[in-house]
C-alpha cells in the first residue's frame, strides 16, 4: 500500500490475536448484537493478518457514527476527528507519511452526507488510502434517520426535496475518479476480507462499500434482504475496463441486484512520494538563503 519501504520493519509476528491488543475488549463493544459492523471488524482483522501488516504502521481514521467506533475495537494507531472529515485527515496523514497503511472506516452518513465534499475530492486526489464504508442506509448513532443511501430497493413513486432518492456510492466513486471501486457484504466476512486485501494493495484510493445492516434502525435492508439482492461479480469481469465497469453496474441495476466484488480497478500514474522531514536533525539544517533572491 506504500511505495517506499517502511523505515524499520518491526519483528512482530502477526497473528489474528495481535489485533485485539490495544483495543476495547470484546465484551465492552457497544454495537447492537447482530450489527453488521461485527462482520466488518472480523474481515479487517483477517485482511490485516493476511497482509502481515503490523499495528504500528497502521493508521485507522474513524468516522463519527456507530461504524466509526470500529477504530477502537482493533489494534493500530487510530484517529477520530469531526463528523465527515475522516478522508481529509487520512489524506494529510498519507501525504505526510506514505509508509503508513492508512485506512478510513466510516458510515454512509459520515461519508456521503456531511462528508461528501471530502469523498468527491479524495477520489480525484487518489492517495493510497483504503476507505471502508459501513453502509446501512441510516444514521445509526443518532437513532435511525435517513442517510443518503436510504431507500435502496424501495419502490417509491413520489419524491420531495425533503425525501430524495438514494444515490449510488459506486457510481459516485466512479464519476469522481476513484481508481478502485468495490462492494462487499458484512454477511460474508470472508469475501469482504478478500476485497479488503485487494483494496489495501491498490496503489491509489480504494473504496469498498460494505453493506453492513443496522439491525436496530433499518428494518428494510436486512441481512435477508441483502442475501436476496447481492450477487458476486462474474469471474469474467475485467475491472480495469471502465466501460465494462459501467456496463456491469447497469446490468446489475436492470436486474435489481447489487454487485459484490471489485467493479473497477485502474491505478493511475502518480508521482512517487517520501515521508516528509520531521525529526529535528532533518529540519535543522534547512538553508533559507536561496529564498532571499526574489526579494532583492
Amino acid at each position: 500500500m506504500s511505495d517506499t519501504k517502511a523505515e524499520t520493519k518491526p519483528q512482530q509476528k502477526i497473528s489474528a490475536k495481535v489485533w485485539d491488543e490495544n483495543a476495547v475488549p470484546r465484551h465492552r463493544i457497544q454495537w447492537c448484537p447482530g450489527c453488521g459492523d461485527f462482520g466488518v471488524l472480523a474481515s479487517l482483522k483477517m485482511a490485516l493478518t493476511k497482509l502481515e501488516v503490523t499495528p504500528y504502521e497502521v493508521m485507522l481514521v474513524g468516522g463519527i457514527g456507530c461504524s466509526g467506533q470500529i477504530r477502537n475495537y482493533l489494534n493500530g494507531n487510530a484517529f477520530h476527528g469531526t463528523h465527515g472529515g475522516a478522508l481529509a485527515y487520512a489524506l494529510g496523514a498519507k501525504m505526510a507519511n506514505p509508509n503508513l497503511k492508512v485506512i478510513t472506516l466510516a458510515g454512509d452518513g459520515d461519508t456521503f452526507a456531511i462528508g461528501v465534499e471530502n469523498f468527491v475530492h479524495v477520489c480525484r486526489r487518489d492517495p493510497e488510502v483504503m476507505l471502508v464504508i459501513m453502509d446501512n442506509g441510516v444514521y445509526g448513532l443518532t437513532k435511525g434517520q435517513h442517510s443518503p443511501t436510504h431507500g435502496r430497493g424501495m419502490n417509491i413513486k413520489e419524491w420531495s426535496e425533503e425525501s430524495p432518492p438514494p444515490f449510488s456510492p459506486l457510481r459516485l466513486a466512479m464519476t469522481a475518479g476513484c481508481t478502485f471501486v468495490a462492494q462487499s457484504f458484512s454477511g460474508d466476512p470472508k469475501h469482504s476480507a478478500e476485497i479488503y486485501v485487494e483494496a489495501m494493495q491498490h496503489k491509489g484510493f480504494a473504496m469498498v462499500n460494505d453493506f453492513s445492516p443496522c439491525v436496530t434502525y433499518n428494518k428494510f435492508n436486512t441481512y435477508d434482504w441483502y442475501k436476496e439482492h447481492v450477487e458476486e461479480i462474474p469471474a469474467g469481469h475485467d475491472p480495469s475496463d471502465q466501460n465494462a465497469a459501467w456496463e456491469l453496474l447497469n446490468d446489475f441495476d436492470r436486474r435489481e441486484k447489487l454487485p459484490l466484488g471489485i467493479v473497477y480497478r485502474n491505478p493511475r500514474s502518480k508521482k512517487a512520494a517520501k515521508r516528509l522531514p520531521m525529526w529535528t536533525e532533518e529540519l535543522q539544517q534547512a538553508d533559507i538563503k536561496p529564498l532571499f533572491e526574489m526579494f532583492r
Binding site: A6, E7, T8, P10, N22, V24, T54, P55, Y56, E57, V58, M59, V61, R71, N72, N75, G76, N77, A78, F79, H80, G81, T82, G85, A88, Y89, A90, L91, G92, A93, K94, M95, A96, N97, N99, L100, E117, N118, H121, A273, K274, L276, P277, M278, W279, T280, E282, L283, Q284, A286, I288, K289, P290, L291, F292, F295, R296
Partner: protein, 627 residues
C-alpha cells in the same frame, strides 16, 4: 528647498489595466538596491480583477520609517486615462479624484495625459507642480508597444526624483529581467523611460522650475537589503522552523502564502496542498501533524469561520497546528481587500466547548519571521492550535529589512514532546493523554515501533479510549487547560512598554499597529502630551500578571484597534478589571498617526470614552414610530 530621501508617494490606476504594481515593484527594487528604506503598507485594490481603482502608497526614507504616517502625500502618480471620455462618470480619473486631496501643498502630481488634461486651477493654487505625461500615447503611437507605458512613467518619476539620471540602476534591472528575451526589449524599455524623462524636463523647462522639489540619493549599503512582505517573512520563517506541510484554500490575503509554499516547500522536502475547500485544508494539515510533521494552514476570516470545528479537534486531540489568519475586513465576505483587526474574538473564543489555544500577533515583517519560529515550537510543546494573526496590510505590506536580520534569528527546533522509538523502549507503557502537572503529555508519530496511539475528539482516558467517567473527564479537561497556565509561566512574553505608564495616558495596541502607535507617541510628545505605549504581540492566553501592573497606575488607558468593538479592550477589561477607553477604526483605511493624535486629544478632553475614526455619513434617516 529640495526634500532629500524622505517622502511618501502614491501610484494609482485602473486595476489589471494600468500596471500600478509594475511601477511600484520596479521602484521598490531599485530603491532597495540603492540603499533606501521603503515602507508600503497599504495595497489599495478591489475585490474584482479588472477595472476598479488600485493604488499603492509608498513611504521612502533614508532611515527605517517609524510608520506609514498619515494619508498625506508628497507625490501622486496617476496612471489612469479615460477610455471613453464621453461617459458621464469617469472611473478612469479615480486616482486624482480620490487621492489628490491628500497631496501636500507644494507637492507633485504626475498623470497620464493621453486622453486629455485635467483641470489644474485648484492644484496650482495649492502650489502643486503638475506633470502631464502622455505615457500611453507615447507607448502606443511612438514606441508601438502599449505595454511600455509604465516605463515612460518610471522614467518620468525618476527624473522628478532626480534619481538614476544615467539609468544605470534601471538598466541593470531591465537586463536581469529581459536580456534573455533579447536586447531590443531592454532598449525599448530604456527608450520609454528616456521619453518620460524628456517630458518631465520639458515641463520643468516650460514652467521654469529648477526641480520638482524632491530628490532621492543612493546610499552606501553596508549589507544586503530585502524588500519583503509580511506573508513573505512568515512563509520563509515557517520553512526555517521546519514546517513541511502547508495547506490552504485560496483567499485574499492569504493566497500568497499558499503560492509561496507551493513554489518553495517542495525544495525543502515538503508538500503544499491547495485544499478543495476550507475544511479539507485544515483537516489534511491536522492529518499531517498527527503523523508527526510540522504543519500549518493559512486563511482569512471567512475561511477561519469555516474551520472553527477543527480548532476543537486540535485542542482536544492535542494535535499541534499553526493557523495563520491574515485578517481582512469582515464580517462575512465583508471587504476582502481591506485590512481590519476584527477576528480576535474568533480566535480567542471561537468553537464550542473549551480548549487551550495560543494567539500571537506580530507587529512587523520582522516579527512575522521571528514569531513564526516561536509559533511552531509552541505548537509542538502545547499541542493545541497556535493562531498567528496578521492583517491584510501587514501581510501584503512591504518593507526593507536587512538580510542579516533573517540570518541571525535563532532557529532552535524543539520537538521534545515527540517520542522516538528509543524513548518508547525506555518508558514502556505509552499513554497519549497522561495527566501531568504541566498539562503536557508526550506524543507519538504513528509508525514508531513499540507504541500505538488512540486519538479522539471525544472525551477520553489517558490511553485515548472514549470515556464519560466524571473523574476522568474532570482530569482531562483540567489537564488540557492547565497548559495555558504553563504557557503563562514558561513561555508568554510581557507586552512591550515604551515610556512610563505611571500617571500618563497609556496607549495600548496589538499586532500591526505598533509602528503607528509609536509614531503617534512622538507626535503627542511634540504637542506636550506624554503618553506611554503598551503593545501586545502575545494576546492569548492573556498575561494578566504582566499587564495589570502596567495599567494599574495609568492616568487613563486608551486602546487603539482596527475594529468596531475594541475586542482587545474588552479582553483587558475582563482580566484587569480596569476601564479601557477606545480609539477604533473600521472603515477599511489604515490607522493614521493623526487618527490617534486626534483621538487621544478628544478622549483627554473627557467628553467620551470611544472615538470612532472616519468621516461619518449624512444624518441617518428617521424611521417613523410604530414600524
Amino acid at each position: 528647498m529640495v526634500i532629500v530621501n524622505k517622502l511618501k508617494l502614491l501610484v494609482g490606476g485602473v486595476q489589471l489595466r494600468d500596471g500600478v504594481v509594475t511601477v511600484t515593484d520596479i521602484l521598490g527594487r531599485i530603491l532597495t538596491r540603492a540603499g533606501l528604506h521603503i515602507l508600503a503598507m497599504e495595497r489599495g485594490y478591489a475585490s474584482t480583477i479588472y477595472g476598479a481603482h488600485q493604488y499603492d502608497p509608498i513611504v521612502i526614507d533614508e532611515q527605517p520609517p517609524v510608520s506609514w504616517g498619515d494619508a498625506t502625500l508628497d507625490i501622486l502618480v496617476a496612471l489612469d486615462y479615460d477610455t471613453n471620455p464621453d461617459a458621464k462618470e469617469q472611473p478612469n480619473r479615480d486616482t486624482v479624484l480620490r487621492h489628490a486631496k491628500h497631496l501636500k501643498d507644494g507637492g507633485v502630481l504626475v498623470y497620464d495625459s493621453s486622453t486629455g488634461e485635467i483641470p489644474s486651477d485648484s492644484f496650482v493654487r495649492r502650489g502643486i507642480k503638475i506633470f502631464p505625461i502622455p505615457a500611453r500615447n507615447i507607448a502606443r503611437d511612438e514606441l508601438k508597444r502599449d505595454v511600455v507605458k509604465n516605463m515612460v512613467t518610471v522614467g518620468a518619476l525618476f527624473r522628478l526624483l532626480d534619481f538614476d539620471r544615467d539609468a544605470t540602476n534601471l538598466t541593470a534591472l531591465l537586463e536581469e529581467r529581459f536580456l534573455q528575451k533579447g536586447r531590443e526589449i531592454v532598449e525599448l524599455n530604456l527608450k520609454a523611460a528616456r521619453r518620460g524623462l524628456e517630458v518631465v524636463e520639458s515641463v520643468l523647462g516650460a514652467k521654469g522650475w529648477a526641480d520638482a522639489g524632491y530628490r532621492l540619493e543612493p546610499r552606501k549599503l553596508k549589507e544586503q537589503m530585502l524588500l519583503v512582505s509580511g506573508n513573505d517573512a512568515l512563509s520563509m520563517a515557517a520553512i526555517a522552523a521546519g514546517c513541511r506541510f502547508y495547506a490552504g484554500y485560496p483567499i485574499t490575503p492569504a493566497s500568497a502564502i499558499l503560492e509561496f509554499m507551493e513554489e518553495h516547500l517542495p525544495k525543502y522536502g515538503g508538500r503544499a496542498l491547495q485544499g478543495q475547500n476550507e475544511r479539507e485544508s485544515i483537516r489534511a494539515a491536522l492529518g499531517a501533524s498527527l503523523v508527526g510533521v510540522r504543519s500549518m494552514v493559512g486563511t482569512s476570516g471567512p475561511g477561519l469561520s469555516l474551520k472553527v470545528e477543527e480548532f476543537g479537534v486540535s485542542g482536544v486531540t492535542e494535535t499541534p497546528l499553526v493557523i495563520v489568519d491574515t485578517q481582512r475586513a469582515g464580517p462575512s465576505t465583508g471587504m476582502p481587500t481591506k485590512s481590519e483587526q476584527g477576528d480576535l474574538f474568533l480566535v480567542a473564543y471561537g468553537g464550542h466547548g473549551e480548549i487551550p489555544r495560543i494567539v500571537l500577533a506580530p507587529a512587523t515583517q520582522e516579527e512575522c519571521y521571528s514569531m513564526m519560529i516561536e509559533a511552531f515550537n509552541l505548537a509542538d510543546k502545547y499541542q493545541c492550535p497556535v493562531f498567528f494573526l496578521t492583517d491584510l496590510n501587514l501581510s501584503e505590506g512591504r518593507k526593507v529589512v536587512p538580510e542579516s536580520f533573517f540570518l541571525k534569528q535563532k532557529v532552535a527546533i524543539d520537538r521534545s514532546t515527540l517520542l522516538r522509538e528509543e524513548d518508547l523502549r525506555r518508558n514502556g507503557d505509552f499513554r497519549r493523554y497522561t495527566v501531568t502537572e504541566n498539562g503536557i503529555s508526550q506524543r507519538l508519530a504513528p509508525g514508531t515501533v513499540g507504541g500505538v496511539f488512540k486519538i479522539t475528539g471525544s472525551e477520553h482516558d489517558e490511553r485515548g479510549f472514549v470515556s464519560t467517567d466524571p473523574v476522568i473527564r474532570k482530569a482531562q479537561v483540567e489537564k488540557r487547560l492547565r497548559k495555558m497556565e504553563t504557557y503563562l509561566k514558561e513561555d508568554s512574553k510581557p507586552p512591550q512598554v515604551y515610556g512610563s505608564t505611571e500617571g500618563n495616558p497609556v496607549l495600548v495596541g496589538w499586532g500591526s499597529t505598533r509602528p503607528v502607535l509609536l509614531h503617534a507617541q512622538q507626535a503627542l510628545q511634540a504637542k506636550g502630551v506624554d503618553a506611554a505605549v503598551v503593545h501586545f504581540t502575545r494576546l492569548w492566553p492573556f498575561n494578566t500578571a504582566a499587564a495589570k501592573p502596567l495599567f494599574a497606575k495609568a492616568q487613563t488607558i486608551i486602546a487603539v484597534e482596527g475594529n468596531f468593538t475594541g475586542q482587545f479592550s474588552d479582553i483587558i477589561q475582563t482580566y484587569c478589571l480596569l476601564p479601557v477607553r477606545r480609539i477604533v477604526k473600521y472603515n477599511g483605511l489604515p490607522i493614521y498617526v493623526s487618527d490617534i493624535v486626534g483621538g487621544v486629544e478628544q478622549l483627554l478632553r473627557g467628553k467620551t470614552d470611544v472615538v470612532r475614526i472616519g468621516d461619518a455619513a449624512p444624518t441617518p434617516v428617521k424611521v417613523s414610530e410604530g414600524d
